[in-house]
């Protein structure tokens, strides 16, 4: 959608600081009455130069740095970065560490998805549902705190495996949290699926047809809700995912409502994945002994973060700092799809549609 040039349109600036935005992004929106006719995005308000910083940090320090790219996907970044370093170094992580990495990723996925659907409820004006979703999410926040000692950055991934093991007592605690979560997650899904207010406000808006999803190469729940059933955990499996049973969620409606429901279904799958890991996890070390020098060369690694595919490219000149470390976050691929989703929508729906791509601006800009 390009900016319209009719005499009946006027410009509605949204952002960079706006009550409906968690982070700063500027939308220059052309409206005709209450209908959106054009939108132009201006980014860069939280550009941190992290990739330049990564080239000055050594390989170990970059584990800590990459965990700070994004708060909600915080485990996916060091995990994928470690995979890139391990691929280049020819390092194979212990079997138990593969399961531990899946547990950390899936715990984060549940918390991230619940946050997004909670915000969606808030934006529809259904604040009691927002608070309920956040309360349900709190079960996973407590799980993170109990297992890893932190509620956001888990600090679980290291090059060669994981930092902490999950012993029997901790596993029992985590199982207990999941048991507490499961019925509430089912109940929440029912409310989001059937509540008349949620349906009225979110069905049929922010449409992204399959052809447009493919043309713009969107990723994650945004792509899957439009019929692109691509999940890195299945297409290019890593960690313990090849050993685990899960269903890749997809839909064909491609609207705000279907994206929210898909996220909730993915959270249910994540619970199953964690349970399988706790059951099947073999005993043994959680990390390799030491770390070999990273040789000259290049590697690619990717994983499925809550918002979609995370991509890391590592290039080494044989020193202890990367020659280049490039990463691409899922939201980066989804912004331009807003041009399609916002076309001809109502002004009141802008925030709901923007939230439906689960935007992360800090990680887009790095």
């Amino acid at each position: 959608m390009t900016t319209a040039n009719t005499t009946n349109t006027y410009t509605l600036p949204v952002g960079p600081l706006h009550v409906a935005l968690e982070e700063p992004m500027y939308f220059d929106i052309q409206v005709e009455g209450e209908t959106v006719r054009g939108v132009q995005l201006t980014a860069g308000h939280v550009h941190r130069g992290m990739e330049a910083l990564a080239m000055q940090r050594n390989y170990l320090q970059n584990v800590t740095l990459t965990e700070r790219v994004c708060s909600l996907c915080s485990n996916s970044h060091p995990a994928t970065y470690c995979m890139a370093v391990e691929a280049l170094s020819g390092l194979t992580i212990p079997e138990r560490a593969k399961y531990l990495r899946v547990i950390a990723d899936e715990v984060k996925r549940i918390a991230s998805h619940l946050f997004n659907v909670g915000i969606m409820a808030h934006l529809t004006g259904f604040d009691s549902l927002f608070m309920h979703a956040m309360e349900v999410r709190e079960i996973m926040q407590d799980a993170k705190e109990g297992v890893y000692g932190n509620r956001m950055n888990l600090g679980q991934c290291v090059i060669g495996g994981c930092r902490r093991d999950i012993d029997e007592e901790t596993a029992a605690f985590l199982r207990g949290q999941l048991e507490q979560l499961k019925p509430q997650l089912d109940e929440l899904y029912g409310v989001f699926e059937r509540d008349p207010l949620i349906r009225k406000r979110t069905r049929g808006i922010g449409l992204l047809p399959l052809a447009e999803a493919k043309r713009l190469a969107v990723v994650g729940p945004v792509a899957r809700a439009s019929g692109v059933a691509y999940d890195v955990r299945r297409k290019a499996p890593y960690a313990a995912y090849p050993e685990l049973d899960f269903e890749v969620q997809s839909d064909t409606k491609g609207d705000v409502h279907s994206r929210a429901l898909l996220r909730l279904r993915e959270a249910v799958e994540s619970v199953k994945l964690i349970e399988q890991c706790l059951r099947k996890m073999p005993s043994g070390p959680v990390c390799t002994e030491g770390m070999p020098a990273v040789p000259r060369g290049e590697s690619v690694a990717r994983s499925e973060a809550p918002r979609g595919e995370v991509f890391y490219y590592l290039r080494s000149d044989g020193t202890d700092t990367p020659q280049r470390l490039k990463w691409r976050v899922p939201t980066y691929m989804n912004w331009e799809a807003l041009q399609v989703m916002l076309a001809n929508c109502q002004v009141a729906d802008i925030a709901l549609i923007v939230n439906s791509i689960d935007p992360c601006i800090s990680c887009t800009e790095r």
Binding site: M83, A87, L216, V300, Y313, Q323, E365
Partner: protein, 186 residues
């Protein structure tokens, strides 16, 4: 690797060899058995031959990485790596930029999502993109120089900022201002 991926791999090898005349892909694998293809193009113009072939293979552009061949710029030269996905296979095509100033044609006509990637490496590495449909800045303000990721700015230079005397005039308001605080262009 399953049969479907093997077919994709072989189709990609054949189509690319035919389009580029003898270019070949080398493959590496990670410890999970995922395959990664690596392809080095001879000239920036080769991307215009490769891109339509990749569209025919239903490839998805994952991202583009620009970098200096020596990060401290002791040796001059930049390269660009284009990363594609072929339904689970990752393919990286690398091109050395030979012209001064460095430039490369846009691939947005084949891959619409190249828009942001090209604008980003253009502003961070000072690489000119020809035929880009939307060549405005992505993250950096227009007032900032292009290529900020391309050069080293020592911390001492960054902190050597000039300031006016306004601050000290307020600090020493109503008192005798020392000579050092009176110096202009601090």
């Amino acid at each position: 690797m399953n049969e479907k991926l093997k077919d994709i791999q072989s189709d990609a090898e054949n189509a690319i060899a035919q389009a580029l005349g003898g270019e070949f892909i080398s493959w590496t694998a990670d410890s999970y058995g995922n395959e990664y293809g690596w392809l080095r193009l001879r000239a920036p113009e080769d991307m215009a031959k490769l891109a339509p072939v990749l569209v025919g293979l239903d490839a998805r552009l994952m991202t583009i990485t620009a970098y200096r061949i020596d990060k401290f710029a002791r040796i001059e030269g930049r390269e660009i790596a284009y990363h594609f996905d072929l339904d689970g296979l990752a393919l990286t095509a690398t091109i050395a930029l030979t012209e001064t100033p460095p430039q490369i044609p846009s691939i947005t006509r084949w891959f619409a999502n190249a828009d942001w990637h090209e604008r980003e490496f253009s502003e961070l590495y000072g690489i000119t993109i020809s035929d880009h449909p939307n060549p405005r800045r992505l993250f950096l303000d227009n007032e900032l120089d292009a290529g900020v990721l391309d050069r080293l700015v020592p911390l001492s230079t960054l902190m050597n900022g000039a300031s006016t005397n306004t601050l000290w005039e307020k600090v020493f308001a109503g008192k005798q201002m020392p000579d050092w605080a009176k110096e202009k262009d601090r």
